[in-house]
Symmetry: C4
């Protein structure tokens, strides 16, 4: 049901995220758009750094598993939302880095004048870019509903959930990883900057 | 005496802990339950990141080596205690991370509102979870005896020994590693948070 | 057009930089001198940690692609300048480390009494060495023109662009990597030193 | 001239040190005792993380290369001294970690109550252990002469050279690496502790 190349691309992205310590335990989730009706997403309860092809399952845009018995990621609706709202999005990666978790728990996050901001399509580094931080909520449907107008009003470079982690997306799994890598780089810069005495 | 698959699982966990710099020198120890009478545990005086099958030996629940001449880990009784008190426990991992060592020497450790806390079975992130910090003691039997009522009264998500490191456990070696990974992630978040100016 | 060994050396340097998290996303660029008329440089828009031979293209000393349709790195002129000004230079590496990005955004950077400074040809450690920090500028030609007299007046051990990253060079790709590694080591030391309370 | 197994053990130790970023550029040096008359040590000007068998040469206890034309490490006399003073020493490893470099430049270093101190033969963790910090000196013969009485009076667990790095030793290359690993762990703990706000 899930194209082999897509499952392999997600497994590889998971290994790269694991190498950076962004998917501790069974945390994090990765997805990619299959077509107009289905999304490939990691199953719940597996280590995202050691994914097998069978750990990537197909879900509908409503977040329901296509195959009975499959248990998709608890955060599936947050992925589906991005594919629904933004047609160019081909993949979504969610990880838990120390920087993202610590900073998002502190409050607002703004990146100012970093060259790396150009990775998100900005033409210049002379800019202040806000990374939205949303309150965490165990009711994912409620969280997604609350986020939706915010995403539409001002499409962000990604977003963080307080004390939780970040969501990044791109046109493909590879492109999404570049965006996640750039975002985590910015977060690490901010963390280190805020530790200067 | 030690099932091959169990020895290999422990050797692999040791390599993963070593990749994170959690087993410097000959520090740390790893174990898994074999059956009602025996536990597999790493020998004393070997590097836990480079374990051979012969470095994993069998001990009784009293911590005595099953095969004469084998020298089990100095901290064997701390492992045995967990298997005895908590029947679901299938594996116990003890490592020395910088975060665990530095924070445990500072005093009490509480994790508040971290999403990753759900890795320990909590239903929500809106919670304050204490990681017990026990005073270090070279007399392991005495330390185990002192810890026992504390473990029974309020089974923790794991525990730290001051200036020493952490103990984490799970239903299998893989599950124990996820729990250790999540615990070390929380400790690293706390360390970084306490370094913000 | 680009000698195979040179392309492979650059791809390997890119992997080593990626292993250190110095080339997030498509950031960074690497080059090597081919001969009096051409320079090999990484294409724009590729991940420098996963370079294929076809990702390394030839440009003239004016920064123009030798083969039509090739899109060289946006920062090509900064590389060409170094080859033009300093005949011994055989390779130039540009990366984005967290330390370089954070410190360069803070202002001036001076390394005092570090033994590693000897990697740059100094005979002693008892010395204060300035790492120039230049203002970032999206107009690379303008930036190169502004830097040129500064480079000539006092050839530095490398330089940083504020909020961006560092440029390091050497007589070969391997030697340039050693210089970059030493420079990043110094930057990390400074970052940690400035975080002491 | 240098036994193959010894050269390979040193090359492997170099790779492990490089994986920890302890040998930036051509910094650091590694040695092992061959017999009563000769020591195997890394050549000057090579990357210690990528040693070939030919990069490990034999020197006498006076630090002179056994084979004409070989250029031993600039710091050879510091290695020879340890073999001469302490018969049990079988290997000496010198690396440049960020923690060692930053802390040694700050002044005295004392490790208090760390469990890992037992890696150096202490029976308890309830102890304060000083890591000697010697002033850096480009005249290695003079530095060695100055250190000698200090080493004899109170044989340390290792030592640091200010703004430079650490020396660690053991009965074999493997044992020396364990000691270096434990020492670097302690230094990293101290660095992080001193960054707490």
């Amino acid at each position: 049901m899930v194209p082999t190349d897509l499952a392999e691309a997600l497994a590889e992205a998971g290994r790269r995220m694991d190498a950076r310590n962004w998917v501790p335990g069974s945390a994090g989730n990765l997805s990619a758009r299959i077509d107009n009706g289905r999304i490939a997403i990691t199953r719940s309860g597996v280590h995202k750094g050691r994914l097998k092809a069978s750990d990537v399952i197909a879900v509908t845009y409503d977040g329901a598993a296509v195959t009975e018995g499959h248990k998709p990621s608890a955060e599936t609706l947050l992925h589906c939302q991005l594919y629904r709202l933004f047609p160019p999005v081909g993949a979504v990666l969610h990880g838990h880095s120390v920087a993202a978790t610590v900073l998002s728990a502190q409050g607002a996050i703004t990146f100012s004048n970093y060259e790396i901001l150009k990775a998100f399509g900005f033409a210049t580094h002379e800019i202040d870019v806000v990374l939205p931080v949303y309150e965490n909520d165990q009711d994912i449907a409620r969280l997604a509903a609350w986020i939706e107008p915010l995403l539409l009003r001002e499409p962000p470079i990604g977003y963080a959930i307080a004390g939780h982690g970040v969501y990044a997306w791109g046109t493909s799994v590879e492109h999404a990883f570049w965006r996640l890598e750039a975002l985590e780089f910015l977060l690490q810069c901010e963390l280190e900057r805020r530790q200067l005495t």
